[in-house]
Symmetry: C2
Subunit: 80 residues, 2 copies
């Protein structure tokens, strides 16, 4: 079973990495870039068989390690 986690900064939280990418794109000549936000994408390969229990376990992983819930949001997708 595979869990896919997206960790993104909450709106309103400054994203210096995204700003750097935006400026670099402008420097390279790409116009019309209004904003860039950068986040993390984490794939977890699990030996669980139960999708519901897996979602709860991955949620615990996010809260304890993968995301800083003060400034970050996360979404979880579970697939076979």
């Amino acid at each position: 079973m595979k869990a896919t986690v997206h960790v993104t900064l909450k709106s309103g939280v400054l994203d210096p990495e995204g700003k750097a990418v935006q400026h670099a794109l402008e420097t390279l000549g790409f116009s019309g870039v209004n904003g860039v936000r950068q986040g993390k994408y984490i794939e977890i390969d699990l030996s669980d068989a139960d999708p519901v229990g897996t979602h709860d376990r991955v949620d615990a992983m996010c809260r304890q390690l993968l995301a800083n819930t003060v400034i970050e949001n996360y979404t979880i997708d579970i697939s076979e």
Copy 2:
């Protein structure tokens, strides 16, 4: 128009960040974690109106800046 880019390491390329997360999860007591791969997730807000041209432009951004195509793969999704 919004472009969503996922940048992931090619299979076979060592992912020390993912390994560190895997070990940390095991230390926290999460068992059954067979592997973790970490990648980047980038949201680009564009003022383009044409989805086809936008895809090509974002593809150029990936090749020139966002991804290191020697060791990384990328996928692009364009949405309104």
